[in-house]
Symmetry: C2
Subunit: 476 residues, 2 copies
């Protein structure tokens, strides 16, 4: 394997300008899935990929997620592209996922360069919308196949592909397709790899083994039949804003403790293995202070801060709908106000139990107010947390690949947010899922000046290939 990998790495080094030109080509397609006017560009990007799969002799089929309504327009959803490179029963079958749509981007938002023109700057950063999220990683898989073909090298695994074009807009229709294909296109899959997140810091690759879930709530308090003037009616009615503010203030302490009884009961205890994984992480409080552009952190050390981010639940108050929210002064008593908050959940919390705790507590607290207003709680969406064992061969292989390419042991990380497709794959296929990022923490995936460092793109292409080679040596 060492010789083959050396040849592969050399080929990747040799072809890197080709890879960058290829990235330039796809960044130039503004495949923004949340923009009605740009929806045809998402299809164009899907066609580009199909042409590329054909060129690389990768068998593929399309799945049609149907239509949806956006901004009042009924739109066709871009196809989910299912690929299969090799169907050798003697080899492992690895499913890789990526998305070919991107976030919106306008030069006027503050971009230093044209967002849909790839520009390499003096620091070796490849600037452009989609460079790191998620066109670079998608090309990483395909570049690897091309390199093997050029070398006449047998591919180490069967590669099963799932590329979608709606990730930045709710992955509409994808879950149903994954479930439907679990015993179809995906039936031989042994493990799953998703390259769609980021390193914890700037210098050290990571393997990501956990995600928090989310339960998003709205609490509506309704009083008068219409907005009232506070001069005329202040002091005569039960004001919905007063009730809502009292309820919201009972949910979480200023130090981040969730005050809802029962919520913390199911939090998995910290294991020694997990605890041991923190001290070596490429992270410090300065990184966090820099990311939030302030020093108002809850913790005084980076380990507690990371645990707060990804292994303990949190509750955030997002805002209030229906109240006065513009600048200036308005003397209104809003008639109906809707508080929005969400709980980030961790193993072994389950949405149903969270829901029961939230409903009981808020109903109890509202009853204590003895208000004549009406209150309603609604869960807008709920997703489970996810955690994988990083002792699984899927992770062990990825860790070996990192050591081969970068000469360091990877950080073992979780994410504080959610990547819903992870859970869908896990639940539908019941196979180990690995998140193996290509880009760095500073890539600005959803911001202006999104970039992928040239070294991350090229070494990342090597990493994805090496991971497949390492995997082929494990039995599981």
């Amino acid at each position: 394997m060492d010789a083959q990998l050396k040849a592969f790495f050399d080929q990747v080094n040799k072809d890197q300008e080709i890879y960058i030109e290829r990235l330039r080509e796809v960044v130039a397609i503004p495949s923004v899935s949340s923009d009605v006017a740009l929806r045809p560009q998402v299809f164009r990007m899907g066609e580009w990929l199909q042409k590329e799969l054909k060129r690389l002799n990768i068998e593929y089929e399309l799945r049609d997620p149907g239509t949806h309504v956006m901004d009042g327009v009924t739109l066709q959803l871009p196809p989910v592209i299912l690929g299969a490179y090799g169907r050798d029963p003697a080899k492992k079958t690895i499913l890789v996922y990526g998305h070919y749509d991107v976030q919106p981007a306008l030069k006027e938002d503050g971009w230093a360069t044209e967002p849909f023109e790839l520009v390499e700057n003096a620091k070796g950063e490849l600037l452009g919308r989609g460079s790191t999220d998620d066109k670079g990683p998608i090309l990483g898989w395909l570049n690897g196949i091309e390199a093997h073909q050029k070398l006449g090298l047998e591919f180490p695994v069967n590669l099963c592909i799932c590329f979608e074009g709606m990730e930045e807009n709710g992955s509409e229709g994808l879950d149903d397709i994954i479930v439907a294909e679990a015993k179809g296109w995906f039936k031989d899959v042994d493990a799953v790899c998703i390259s769609d997140n980021y390193w914890l810091g700037e210098t050290k690759p990571c393997l990501t083994y956990g995600l928090r879930g989310i339960s998003y709530y709205k609490v509506a308090v309704k009083g008068p039949g219409r907005d009232l003037h506070s001069g005329v009616f202040g002091g005569t009615v039960h004001e919905p804003m007063t009730d809502l503010t009292h309820i919201l203030s009972k949910l979480v302490s200023p130090h981040g403790q969730i005050l809802i009884p029962g919520i913390m009961d199911d939090v998995a205890p910290l294991t020694d293995a997990e605890k041991a994984s923190y001290p070596s992480l490429d992270f410090c409080l300065d990184t966090l202070h820099c990311a939030i552009d302030a020093k108002n952190t809850l913790h005084d050390n980076h380990i507690d801060a990371l645990m707060g981010r990804w292994r303990y639940p949190s509750l955030s108050l997002h805002g209030i709908e229906g109240a006065f929210s513009a600048p200036g002064a308005k003397t209104v008593i809003p008639a109906k106000v809707i508080g929005k908050f969400s709980i980030r959940s961790v193993p072994n919390m389950v949405p149903e139990k969270i829901d029961a705790c939230v409903n009981k507590y808020i109903n109890d607290e509202f009853a204590k107010l003895c208000s004549k207003n009406q209150m309603e709680i609604e869960c807008l969406h709920a997703g489970k947390p996810w955690v994988a064992s990083f002792e699984h061969p899927n992770y062990v292989a990825a860790a070996s690949a990192v050591e081969r390419v970068f000469g360091v042991k990877p950080d073992m990380t979780r994410e504080g947010g959610s990547i819903p497709v992870t859970l869908t794959f896990q639940d539908a296929l019941n196979k180990n899922v690995l998140l193996l990022p290509m880009g760095r923490s500073s890539d600005g995936a959803h911001s202006i000046n999104e970039k992928l460092d040239r070294s991350n793109y090229i070494e990342g292409t090597k990493l994805l290939g090496a991971y497949l080679w390492e995997l082929s040596t494990h039995t599981f």
Copy 2:
């Protein structure tokens, strides 16, 4: 006086169609002071009034309030029109105030008729923007002068006039002019009458002797340097929304009690005279339920409800700027949130003391949170409460006039809101001020389908004239 008044009333009855045509003429001028495009119409309305004053031989001068900036445009402010009808040192001089600008109105807002075309419906309601606020009352004064002239009847007082064109847009520049004219145009004024509010109910006229003040606050809590993703940063930072919600929840109880220590200390005790004025008021809880289109009132009887509206302070939470306020779900940790609340104040509360209590309390409560965020309190504007003695001859005369025209004793009312010019006249001239409304509670001054009942317009014209006759018989 009885004979003169009878002749006057008969003339008013005879000329009522002329008065309505005159109201039609002025309603057709869309003098919306808050609309850049309609500002010239405010001037046109001012010119209409000047022509009318000339026709009635009323001496007048204009005062120029200067310019202001609105929606980025520098605009000339419409003139304050100062009039003088009679300067007989043997008569009393009464200052009357009105405004010739109106609220915005569009048919599309839900008007049943064209807002700037006066329409009389089957119920005898004169529908049209400005009919009751405040063009009807302004014409009421002028119609009365015309009737006296037709009859060859000597006018009972010297009438001093102050008509402005910016009332619906902050009365910009007016205060300075009033202060400057206190020893000028207004130097002989004995009492002031403002006809720019409404009856408490539908059937009984009222005299209004009190207004609440207002102290409007914003409390800003600032944390991270930019909005954060709650997945990535929830559980790691002091969230400004959490702090702000805790502070806002400490200001007022769900039953309307202000929780800020010291605020209630200066509330004037209820006198027997005031207490005795409540039972006969044209008001019941149903009226309030109907006005708020709900039954979530704080009190179970109309007397406590009216005291809550106008003789006790109240605190309303208006909303939050900077947080997520749109429909749907957004997983944001807002970086800076600004809570808005205001306190309606009553005699003998003073803005400076309110300010001291609010600042001390909120600073103390914020300190208890031990948050690393920054908090700032700012008073956006403050106006004093106002109360006049309804035993003053100005009120006694008005009450007699009500009995003459309507055959009932008027309600003695206060308003929960503020009419800032009242205080300006009171403070600048140091004379008794009376609020003597023409329209009914249901007139919808700032709403769609604004109206003035024909009977209110015609009987109201008689009332304003009779009030001046009654005043002439009092010494003060």
